[in-house]
Symmetry: C2
Subunit: 483 residues, 2 copies
């Protein structure tokens, strides 16, 4: 059921932009109303798919006039329900799927301009075809879109060297809540004209504007890479190893840590996986080193030397460097299969958190012990991007619990404890997945009043009618929410 | 003459923070009421110098209650009048001079926390003493403060490799207009908790908050450097040379271009300067290459090889690599003495502009010709940071003009032309100096309505009483200005 205002917008889109721009068949809409982890179910009477920035602009201007909420959506690969519309059907979905042009690919300048609907995998391939590399990668590369990656400041497994999406965005084009277009695509290395609207839109989760295109930085193509698997005793030793590597070379692009029982879970549940090392180790680290310089010392040689020094220093227990691309991929497969393995191991509550890098080893050990002590029978594990101070901190349910009861009753308390520990450590309750609807109220609970007041002031100043992605990210004051 | 409200704040500061926190003697105040280039003269009945973040917070909260304007000031080295109070004496100056602690220097983490009043030169030395390097440098290093550098997103001669201040800021602590404290010092590599307030405060020129401290990134200490002087034919060839260098090595930290007549001006006016090359060249380039890796190929060897290739390719006409530190400094002295030489050469109107790097060679040549054609007798020169797309574009007055008349009548028209050309090229009318009061109205004239509306909305949302650095950066709508 559409409201008369929603009908007007839908009719406007159909008439002005053509039939491709409007989807109203419930069967076609349905897959876009639920997130891929099936945690958030929304409703929407239509998906609008404008084909250009001008069309997005016209659509948003009309929606603003009529006070109709819009929820922007890219590949629908989000982890926090940020692209799922409200359950009451009050919002229309705006898909960027028809805006999939790469407008510019400038290898000399190491820059490219991609529209919001360009798929990450497609973009990475285009950069490679141009002899360059786009150094951001994540599991959802086949579906995630540039617009979504910008709007969520996406991270992934290559952040260590090149940073998150924020560091890779040189410019943003977006339609603001009143329908006006912010054109920040011109990639200026120096530009001091006041508040940085491009950076404000990165990670704003579509609440301040609909990102329609972005200018993205490219890096030189990889000339050689090496992947190593290291067994070691503790996260503290892992961090010491990382610091040594980073002091000696800038080649390290990934440094992923996993506890032994998590690796064992993968080996038990995921066919075709095999432990790279023969012995037993409490912690495992996956390292990837890359160079773009064909004349540079080979990454494998660098890692070999550095790991030999790490044995001498008592930091590493054992290590192996992949002898082939296939072997390198098999190492990575273990890391990437953790989520899959975890699902088959029973209920778990997951947290995407960060703390200052130096504090992460302590947090992984003490935080895990604290969670297990406070919730007897649970099992805490932490794995992920040690060098970014970002681990995925999961707490598994005690064996034999009722799944639904545990998720409904215990999980929220566990999450509260983990978030409190993170805040006490000066960390973030959302390292890379964003806030969306999942963490909106936790953000409000755990932010300082100064911070929440600033977020609310910015949101309501730029989107006074609250039409863009309502209910996400910023918990508004009660009086504003009820508007 | 103080208003009763100003008196209350001054008395509060004296009583709560002690006599050091208040300066009311006009002789002591006077030097801080005019910028160092003596273009902007303000007035203020007192300078308040809080000694801690808590004191700044108490001060701002009271000023906000009473509706008294505050102008934050660091080293008073700004180029656009951004730290000079209004001429009507309606604002109090807030100096960060007593907040000069380096709170943390963590070489392992490559991070440091410095208070707003720490002098750049002092901070650079502290980083060096810790075996690291802070890769931002500019002429005013002996006076410019961390707070000012953050608030103006300072640039300088090392931006090419490590970026502007924005890229070097890992966290910001600031007092917001209502007196609340934004504590963003925790340096998280991944943090997706909504709008990035740290980045919003960088370059906000004190209009959204008073920066009290910052977490800054350090880089490895330099193991070796090389400085080269190259004579070449055109900016286009200079850019081709830069692209070659950048494709081959990441050592290039500075790439400064200067036209021949500007270099000649330095040689004529600045004692002790001497041209590094014997022949005549239309353009000169100063290159600095640095490595932190003692085992890497020496920067001088890399430059030597690359410059030899550049001769072969017809890009460079002649070049010399400094044989000693003293010689390297003498090359740099020519570049740094340009402002001084220009002042002795008569009136000139200066523009700190940027365009996309690829377009800069064309802009330097065609923009200069256009300005000279439209204003007969003038002489346009452009020099500076070619690799950042940022040149200082100066137009010298015709010989024999009346200085005051020319500045008052012709200069504004020239500036308007230059700014229009910059905007047409998708560039910025303020590359590194900021907006302040100098460019406030030009920013309003040349920004899209969407951009100005966003800047105004953010300013008025976060500082509804308009107490922080009024009249700077954002030209408010007439009805708000008259408040």
């Amino acid at each position: 059921m559409m409201t008369p205002e929603q009908q007007r917008i839908t009719a406007f889109a159909a008439e002005r932009f053509g039939p491709k721009a409007v989807t109203t068949d419930p069967h076609d809409i349905e897959p876009w109303l639920i997130d891929w982890r099936r945690r958030y179910q929304g409703a929407a009477p239509a998906i609008l798919s404008p084909g250009s920035t001008e069309e997005v602009s016209a659509l948003v201007a009309l929606a603003n006039d009529l006070g109709v909420a819009l929820v922007p959506q890219g590949g629908n690969t989000g982890m926090v329900g940020g692209a799922i519309p409200p359950a009451d059907g009050s919002a229309l979905l705006v898909s960027t799927r028809r805006m999939h042009r790469i407008r510019r690919m400038d290898a000399d300048a190491n820059l490219a301009v991609a529209e919001a609907g360009v798929i990450l995998g497609t973009f990475r391939e285009a950069a490679e075809a141009a002899g360059r590399r786009f150094p951001l990668d994540l599991g959802a590369r086949g579906s995630a879109t540039i617009g979504g990656l910008v709007s969520t400041n996406a991270g992934g497994v290559q952040v260590l060297r090149f940073g998150t999406m924020r560091a890779l965005v040189a410019g943003v084009e977006a339609v603001l809540p009143d329908g006006s277009v912010h054109d920040g695509l011109s990639a200026l290395k120096k530009d001091n004209r006041g508040y940085d609207l491009n950076q404000l839109l990165v990670g704003a989760e579509g609440t301040l504007g609909i990102v329609t295109a972005a200018t993205l930085r490219l890096v030189p193509a990889a000339a050689a890479r090496a992947v190593a698997w290291v067994g070691l005793e503790s996260p503290a030793k892992a961090l010491s190893l990382l610091r040594r590597l980073q002091a000696a070379t800038d080649m390290v692009e990934s440094f992923e840590i996993m506890p032994d029982d998590t690796v064992a879970l993968v080996l038990a549940h995921v066919p075709g996986t095999r432990l790279p090392l023969a012995g037993t180790h409490r912690w495992h680290v996956l390292i990837e080193a890359v160079t773009s310089d064909p004349a540079a010392e080979a990454p494998a040689t660098v890692l070999e030397r550095m790991l030999a020094e790490a044995f001498e220093a008592g930091l590493a227990e054992d290590a192996v460097i992949a002898a082939s691309e296939a072997q390198a991929e098999s190492f990575w497969r273990i890391r990437h299969a953790i989520s899959e393995a975890e699902r088959s191991a029973g209920p778990a509550v997951q947290h995407d958190i960060s703390v200052p890098v130096e504090d992460m080893p302590r947090f992984m050990v003490e935080g895990g012990a604290e969670a297990e002590a406070r919730f007897p029978g649970t099992h805490a594990i932490a794995y992920g991007h040690l060098g970014d101070g970002n681990v995925h901190f999961h707490v598994r349910a005690p064996k034999g619990v009722d799944r639904n009861r545990w998720y409904a009753e215990d999980a929220p308390h566990i999450t509260r404890l983990v978030h409190d520990m993170v805040v006490a450590a000066g960390g973030s309750i959302s390292a890379e997945h964003g806030i969306g609807q999942m963490k909106r109220d936790e953000l409000a609970r755990l932010s300082t009043p100064a911070r929440m007041a600033a977020l609310r002031a910015i949101k309501t100043a730029l989107d006074p009618k609250l039409i863009l992605n309502p209910g996400k990210l910023v918990a508004l004051a009660p009086e504003t929410l009820s508007k």
